[in-house]
Symmetry: C2
Subunit: 415 residues, 2 copies
Amino acid sequence: MTPFLQLSLALAILIAAAKAGGYLSYRLGQPSVLGELLVGILLGPTLVDILHIPYFTDPHLPEVIHQMAEVGVLLLMFLVGLELHISDLAKTGKVAALAGILGVILPLIMGFGTGKVFDLPNTAAIFLGLILAATSVSISAQTLMELNVLRSRVGISLLGAAVFDDILVVLGLSLFTALVVTESPGGLATVLGVLGRMALYLGLAAASGWVALPKASRRISKLPVSQGLIAFTIVTLLLYGWAAEELGGMAAITGAFLAGLLFARSPVKQRIESGITALAYGLFVPIFFINVGLTADLRELLGDTFWLFAILAVVAMLGKIIGAGAGAFLGGLSRQESLQVGIGMMSRGEVGLIVATVGVAQGLIDEVVFAVVVGVVIITTLLTPPLLRASFANSKSSADRSKPENKSAAEGELE
Amino acid sequence: MTPFLQLSLALAILIAAAKAGGYLSYRLGQPSVLGELLVGILLGPTLVDILHIPYFTDPHLPEVIHQMAEVGVLLLMFLVGLELHISDLAKTGKVAALAGILGVILPLIMGFGTGKVFDLPNTAAIFLGLILAATSVSISAQTLMELNVLRSRVGISLLGAAVFDDILVVLGLSLFTALVVTESPGGLATVLGVLGRMALYLGLAAASGWVALPKASRRISKLPVSQGLIAFTIVTLLLYGWAAEELGGMAAITGAFLAGLLFARSPVKQRIESGITALAYGLFVPIFFINVGLTADLRELLGDTFWLFAILAVVAMLGKIIGAGAGAFLGGLSRQESLQVGIGMMSRGEVGLIVATVGVAQGLIDEVVFAVVVGVVIITTLLTPPLLRASFANSKSSADRSKPENKSAAEGELE
């Protein structure tokens, strides 16, 4: 059968399964994102291996689905940005900086230590630390939207800390590559170069988008172009994501998040949100959630590497909870809120995978360690929604819950 | 750069270019779909060849974009179906049947004759006729939506005729393959088998969807699942399209169109339409329009095969205008309306390409004839929007224009 027929059937199965899993999870009192992730594990190589049943003969099918999943995470982070106000982010700057910085340093040290305990060479051990320092808050943000606390002090601190985290990990990765891999003497020059690129991207993106995006979106919404506003939004968020990696050297999701923050200032924000939400939650985001499990075979973790995996997973979680949590506490959050920020930073998601892929490509870590790291990414991602939910169940009296008018369709399960 | 970064940039460029081309076309008094098609030619291998500039190193990029384009044509035909009422279609049954049947027979004979004039063997000449008998009304339907006459007598007859056309071409193709290619003696049995499969698919799809889809869509719209209704619609239309080809042996767009007709009966039709329209016109449909040009190098048609191409293009257009037009006229439409139906049937689109691909795969036509056929598909598709528009410009007094309340965002340029 043609590749497109195979894609049609695969998408239909995956979307239906993801939504069914999400609904079941919701009925059981858990965030729906947990159910969608678990359905992915179930349908992935760990059990059913749906994309390799005899009907699916197209070798590119997993790649096409993976690309659609990446569109999904961009749309998700865009909608997260769209929910916020830049002024909110500015208010929590100190907490975010402290949580971001300590949330990088502690996992870096603990990852290095774990590597040494398992007799890895110094470079591999440092690299392991760098991988554990990464974070991806897309799953946490989704969970917070479902709990309707994305715009609480915890939610905004978490999103700000993730931006700091992204910047620090990229800096660390660049510095490490320059000093250790290429053994170039210009460590400081490298860091300055990387910082310069980031500043250039963030400056250009913010400056060009601050006035122009709200203005352009209003004008385009009035043109006689079918869904011109939605097309404009998609084009812009793709370009912001692309430029974040290509020009800024950062993660594409940081760029999409930034685009969302800027579009939040648009007078036609409601129409943007309604269109992008249909696109995101009706098609791309369920594919992103389910694809996490489709790319991992958890059975591999039960073999020789089990102890490395188990210890690294615990280290990965404690590193973020203690590190980012301590940062948030020093920044002035309550003990409970700090714990919530720490748990929210646990999930490594695609950012951890990107760093790990760089390590394999440069020969710093081998395939065995890579498989373990993938397992750690999966397990931290899977545990984040239920742990976050539990941590919020104990703080019902929090004064900083999001405002009641902030009930959009993007906020998860209750449209 | 990673394949996803390349895809992000390519999609941003293509969507922006398509919308800009459509807007320009609209400003010049033409249907916007014409501008989107022309921009595709401009960016395709004929001139810029955008997908093969040095930045785009991923060999699978054109394939991923092609798959998204195919999702686009399914969404487009779904929205066309959603705009109609089944009772409308039933009313124009006789006109549709006559236009469909004569619109297949005349191009078949004329294509065979042209093949013989150019000294093709009998099998290749008959196959050429079969290719010219195909039709794809997605571009015509889009143009009619923009002219706000999709639900006129002409529009509905055209859509009905396209369904007859699809059935007849599939029957002809199956019979031809059975008798000529495999030389199996059971011609009648083959036809009965093909007819049986079609009847089974159409019967099952209509019976299962008639009551169940409207009911299920209402229930799902009330569930606490984010964009559950849109996800359900996408899953259903993908499955209907998939089953049309896989079970019914028909074109996937016929299945998507059928799904649209059935969802038109849903009490939550408005919400379905608003979500799918954002998805379709904001992302996938512009990719479909632009991808037509991305797959063709029109320069190739200026070489040795120019005369075959030119004559076949004229034959292709006259065959449909005279054949389908005469059928419509015999069915009781006015001379003007019959001409409009004939022009609307001209575009071969992806259905003509599918038939041609079968011919190449079975060695019935060679690469040269295939390139010519692709050129004919492009040229008939390009000429359909301006000719349709011109034919409607002369009939402003038509009594059968669509009702004023039928102004949805799906109707092209004026949301």
